[in-house]
Amino acid sequence: MLAYLLRRVLYAVPILIGVNLLTFVLFFVVNSPDDMARMQIGVKRATPEAIERWKVERGYDKPMFINDEAKGSARFTETIFYNKSLRMFALEFGRADDGRDIGQEIRDRMGPSLAIALPTFVLSLFASISFALLLVFFRASYLDFWGVVLCVAMMSISSLFYIIGGQWLVSKLWALVPISGYAPGLDAARFLVLPVLISVLAGIGSSARWYRTLFLEEISKDYVRTARAKGLSELAVLFRHVLRNALIPILTGAVVVIPLLFMGSLLVESFFAIPGLGSYTIDAINAQDFAVVRAMVFIGSVLYIVGLILTDISYTLADPRVRLQ
């Protein structure tokens, strides 16, 4: 098991190198730092001095890969590639355009992101599984049919509508919770209720429909018929046999997104003004702060790979027949 995990972690290294190279090509080769400077300063005001100053401020004035002017190992470390790309492996992201340390900012903003993403994740799973079970219990009835129709209709509604509609209805018309904002500590609850509920509602259509097909697949298996034949009630069959077996693919499928919960949600955080990583990313995109976007891309892929490894582990825990070697 330990050897397997070690190998998985080692396997992750080339993938991260690939991600790193890809972002480097995207941010520094597709457009030269001069192009980016010209665009950020504005084409009309981009004098050569202004461009140079912009590059020095951000450390983009060094050579790309090899610095011929430096000596020894500095030949390789005094370059854009080393400073901007390789140092990300040490989780050193440098500074954003507003001068703040990106690493510190990320640590500060993880909390609020998690405060909204974790309850959303748990509640979504619970709500979708319950709804799917309800549909499966009444399968091949009108309730089932219209339930699926409802799921498809809910999938077809833009997530922007859920957010805008929910804010308007609950915060503005009924004035139950503040429209947006955030407060640290327990006080955050009144700010979090609405975004969490809206996210759950927005996601329930597609996942409930997907879970329903999983349950239906499971329910057509032989052991379920045996269970019924020995006189178990439909509810007992559903909860004790079908649910437990169908949960394996559902939960292991959900494990991969758990680390990504740290990243928060772009849309919800920006609409509800929650100071998490999602709104940080959006602000960076709108301000064209390339350093922050680059850092978020790297962290996102690290978290994704952690999620993949966790998925493998969860397979062995959920299903004793799976042996990792």
Binding site: P14, I15, L16, G18, V19, L22, T23, L26, F27, V30, N31, D35, M36, R38, M39, V43, V152, A153, M155, S156, I157, S158, S159, L160, F161, I164, Q167, W168, L260, M263, L266, L267, S270, T281, I282, I285, N286, Q288, F290, V293, R294, M296, V297, G300, S301, Y304, I305
Partner: protein, 487 residues
């Protein structure tokens, strides 16, 4: 008053990249129809789609959207009127002699909707309103200044001095007339359809017509007819009312919201279909290569898609779009008109979305190829000495097409929804491109306004909902018909 910029008097056709690709897709679709007619299994699968009332009804709706989108994909630059041309020449904009064309690129849909496009107001007005949404200081006839809601220039202008009294009657008469026209058109469509079904069936015409109405035909024509009735009613109402009222109101700069919603359809179709079209060659080539050749090719392809998968989609899209923006902004000389620039950006967005989403299809194709490679007939072909290219073309590729088709229809709705979100985040289409996303984005600022300006949002969401719902339902029917694992 200056004469309105007419479309008469000549034009210069403009072929945008997305136009060319959309028409290519239509041509491929027509070819596929002819191909499917000759192939029994394909014919049978499409028959299955046609037998389901949901399939026929949603196909009708989608065809209507496609018609709007394709009309909007025939672009041209109108000839400038002589006076304007002289001015342009004086200003040095056009040195050469001969006709001068406007830099504004229009489409056939723009020409059809000319009244909607040109009847702009000053700012917001509610649906069917005859005044603006805000009070303004107006000067009365006797020179006094008063604050009141100014009359609209176009919306309800025909109502005269007492708009409140006349509007209800006018609306009722117009709607009745529109519904009457729709009923006539529907009847004509029904007669044509019944005749087509009747031709060569060996039954009497009345018998066939009754079967169509009773839903007893093999293909679910009744569902299509019902949906056609709804669509015809909507179109007739629009034709009747839209020139005289702003049916969905106007937006901040006074543009008709119905016009914006109809123009958004093309953007949604481009994103929804071209994304899959441009990534398909990569996905198919790499998926088959990985599955059939195996070895280091397989390793390399799997490595590439694991790396692409590892980056969360939105972030990869954000990074790529930011970089694309820099490229486009630093090379203004590539584009003649603003339309060409925003079109290039739209196409680039399709490519970027394609790069982030081809991995799923490639993985499916790789798995299926692995399975097909071991089947007896492929092994037999190999034993007979058939070359690899021939095997791939003749035995592997045709058996993968159902996966590609299913991917094409299944991805569509998700991509349409994604466009709105991405445009909202600021990494979607060019702000000057009319799309559901930009409509929502512009309307968002007005949510805090009291009373709320809701109609732009409502129109964008309703149009998007109808399109995506139809696409979702149609995709399910197609998947059920083409996926051999589903009955």
């Amino acid at each position: 008053m200056s004469a309105p910029m007419g479309t008469e008097g000549g034009f210069q056709p403009v072929l945008l990249w997305t136009d060319a690709l959309l028409w290519l897709l239509v041509a491929l679709g027509v070819l596929a129809v002819f191909h499917a007619r000759g192939q029994a299994p394909l014919r049978e699968a499409w028959r299955k789609v046609g037998k389901r009332p949901v399939g026929m009804a949603t196909a009708t709706v989608l065809l209507a959207f496609v018609a709007v989108g394709m009309l909007d994909s025939l672009h041209y630059r109108p000839l400038l009127p002589a006076v304007d041309a002289a001015q342009a020449a004086e200003a040095g904009a056009a040195e050469r002699a001969g006709p001068v064309y406007s830099t504004e690129v229009l489409s056939v849909l723009d020409a059809v909707l000319a009244p909607l496009r040109l009847q702009t107001e000053k700012t917001y007005s509610a649906p069917f309103a005859w005044t603006l949404y805000q009070r303004e200081t107006i000067e009365a006839a006797d020179g006094r200044q008063l604050r009141d809601y100014p009359r609209l220039l176009h919306g309800g202008a025909h109502l005269g001095e007492e708009p409140a009294a006349g509007r209800a009657g006018d609306l009722a008469v117009s709607m009745a007339r529109a519904l009457g026209q729709a009923a006539l058109a529907w009847l004509a469509a029904f007669v044509v359809l019944a005749t087509l079904v009747w031709r060569g069936s060996g039954h009497g015409w009345g018998e066939v017509a009754a079967a169509v109405l009773g839903g007893r035909t093999v293909l679910a024509w009744r569902a299509a007819l019902v949906m056609l009735g709804v669509l015809l009613a909507a179109v007739a109402l629009g034709v009747e009312l839209a020139p005289r009222y702003h049916v969905f109101g106007t937006d901040k700069v006074g543009q008709d919201v119905l016009y914006l919603a109809l123009k958004s359809v093309r953007t949604a179709l481009v994103i929804g279909t071209l994304t899959t079209l441009v990534m398909m060659p990569f996905a198919v080539a790499l998926g088959i290569a990985a599955g059939y050749l195996g070895g280091w090719v397989d390793d390399a392809v799997q490595y590439v898609y694991t790396v692409l998968n590892a980056i969360p989609g939105v972030l990869l899209i954000a990074a790529a779009v930011l970089m694309m923006q820099v490229v486009i902004d630093t090379h203004p000389e590539w584009f003649d008109t603003a339309a060409e620039r925003s079109d290039a950006r739209l196409l680039a967005l399709c490519f970027i979305l394609g790069i982030t989403s081809w991995t799923g299809l490639a993985r499916l194709l790789r798995g299926e190829t692995l399975k097909l490679r071991e089947l007896e007939y492929v092994q037999a072909a190999r034993a007979f000495g058939v070359g690899t290219p021939a095997i791939l073309r003749r035995h592997i590729l045709p058996n993968l097409m159902h996966i590609v088709l299913i991917a094409l229809v299944m991805d569509f709705s998700g991509l349409v929804l994604a466009e709105a979100v991405l445009s909202y985040v600021g990494i979607g289409v060019d702000p000057s491109t009319i799309s559901f996303g930009t409509m929502i984005n512009m309307a968002r600022a007005e949510l805090a306004r009291e009373p709320m300006v809701w109609w732009s949002l409502a129109a964008a969401f309703v149009f998007m909902f109808v399109l995506v719902l139809a696409a979702n339902l149609f995709a399910d029917v197609v998947r059920d018909a083409f996926d051999p694992r589903r009955g």
